[in-house]
């Protein structure tokens, strides 16, 4: 049952439900650019409450809502809101609840969307809560794999970069563990996947860890690159050394399959140089574009139940 359901954590969805979102997003794909001719969400109001700045997530939610015929209201920064006057999240949510048919929430505190969902009558969709959950990113990542590789089951996926703090890696790897996949994690020692996540996913799928991307790249169907953040390193010299090692070179990509798909949640900094953008393997901009049909699908499932 999708109607009026909250989406807080990717763990709230079963494999069948994830596949349902993928199929629905695929059926809406052409309308991601042109708008749905039937405007199925006409008359609905989506509130986007963004307590933290975001470009892709907020704009792709708003684009998705408008492509389906819904109206959008909300805020993308706190300056002109009651939040700036000290209003609590719960008060804001209870008020906006009366103004809208669904709330899309981004908040710096982990668990904010779960809390909001308990006090809101209208469904709450989590658009990222601090270092916690960001389920729509995970869904668009899986959609990208499904579309670009042609399947999710029986694929070999490598994650490279900051695997310790990167929430996209954590929730995507958890969601992928519902499928029949092989997962490889490539990172410096300091940024390895947290033990509790490894423990959870290796109960279900094969997990291998590496320091060197070169040795594992020939096996990969998907290479998921993440940014190594400077602030994670107390010593700037150490950061330079580590970040330099994990910059993706065209020569490294050429060691992989020609059909390999390179993904990145964006924004990127130096880890994917511009020269990679022109390679056929680079799909990160398409990945970002898939955010629209995936969010269209979710909004339709949640607001109309179909």
């Amino acid at each position: 049952m999708w109607l009026n359901r909250d989406l807080v954590s990717i763990g709230d969805l079963s494999k069948e439900e994830i596949l349902e979102v993928l199929a629905k997003a695929n059926s809406l794909l052409e309308y991601g650019k042109s708008g749905h001719p039937d405007l199925p969400l006409k008359g609905k109001i989506i509130a986007t409450l963004f307590y933290e700045p975001s470009t892709r997530t907020r704009l792709s939610f708003e684009s998705a809502a408008k492509r389906m015929g819904a109206e959008v209201l909300g805020f993308g920064s706190l300056e002109s809101t009651s939040v700036a006057k000290g209003e609590t999240l719960l008060d804001t949510v209870r008020i906006i609840d009366g103004y809208s048919d669904a709330i899309v929430l981004r908040h710096p505190s982990e668990g904010a969307a779960r809390l909001a969902s308990e006090y809101s009558e209208v469904p709450v969709i989590n658009a990222g809560d601090g270092a916690g959950q960001h389920p729509t990113q995970t869904l668009l990542d899986i959609f990208t794999i499904w579309k670009e590789v042609g399947k999710v089951d029986d694929t070999t996926i490598g994650f490279v970069g900051d695997l310790k703090y990167g929430r996209t890696v954590h929730s995507l790897s958890k969601a992928l563990s519902l499928f029949n996949v092989n997962l490889h994690f490539i990172s410096p020692e300091q940024l390895k996947l947290p033990k509790h996540i490894r423990k959870e996913i290796e109960k279900k799928v094969t997990v291998k860890e590496h320091k060197d991307l070169e040795e594992v790249i020939p096996k990969l169907d998907v290479l998921y690159v993440t940014r190594i953040q400077k602030e994670r390193f107390p010593d700037p010299e150490e950061y330079k050394k580590v970040a330099g090692t994990y910059v993706l070179r065209a020569s490294t990509v050429s060691r992989g399959k020609r059909s390999m798909v390179i993904m990145h949640p964006l924004p990127r900094v130096d880890e994917i140089p511009f020269e990679i953008d022109n390679l056929p393997q680079a799909r990160y901009f398409r990945q970002a574009a898939y955010g629209v049909p995936v969010r269209m699908a979710l909004l339709d499932l949640i607001l109309r139940g179909e």
Partner: protein, 156 residues
Amino acid sequence: MSEEQTLKIEKIQKGTVIDHIPVGRALQVLKILNIYSDIGLTVSIAIHVKSKKLGLKDVIKIEERILDSSELNKIALVAEGATISIVDNFEVIKKFSVKAPEVVIGILRCSNPRCITNTGENVKSSFIITSKDPIILKCHYCEREMETDEIIENIV
């Protein structure tokens, strides 16, 4: 209690006996009960006592103090299965085992400083027990897991 053990700690006239504490956990139980130093009551502690049921156990006797249910729920988080005896006039008037609840509400702070429950919102903390031995609690909100040491540090 067997004759051998009663020799180690005298019977109490009135108060609470916490028996069958998993061996080595007595000091954690005291911490949960906020018994750090002289609380003006006689507290007897026996650590590493032979037990038919557990092999080895710890025992605590607190004179003149009857524990309430919120304190007992807290004990269950580190000493599941401990036996509580309420004693009056040297007689056990009530005896039961503590059981960890499925959901722990309001008695712990989440160890994650960025959890929404630590930001001044009007919300009680809430945890689901994901493992009993060793005890692991998962925050219902931020989904962070806490193990024994963190649980003890965050009891309110």
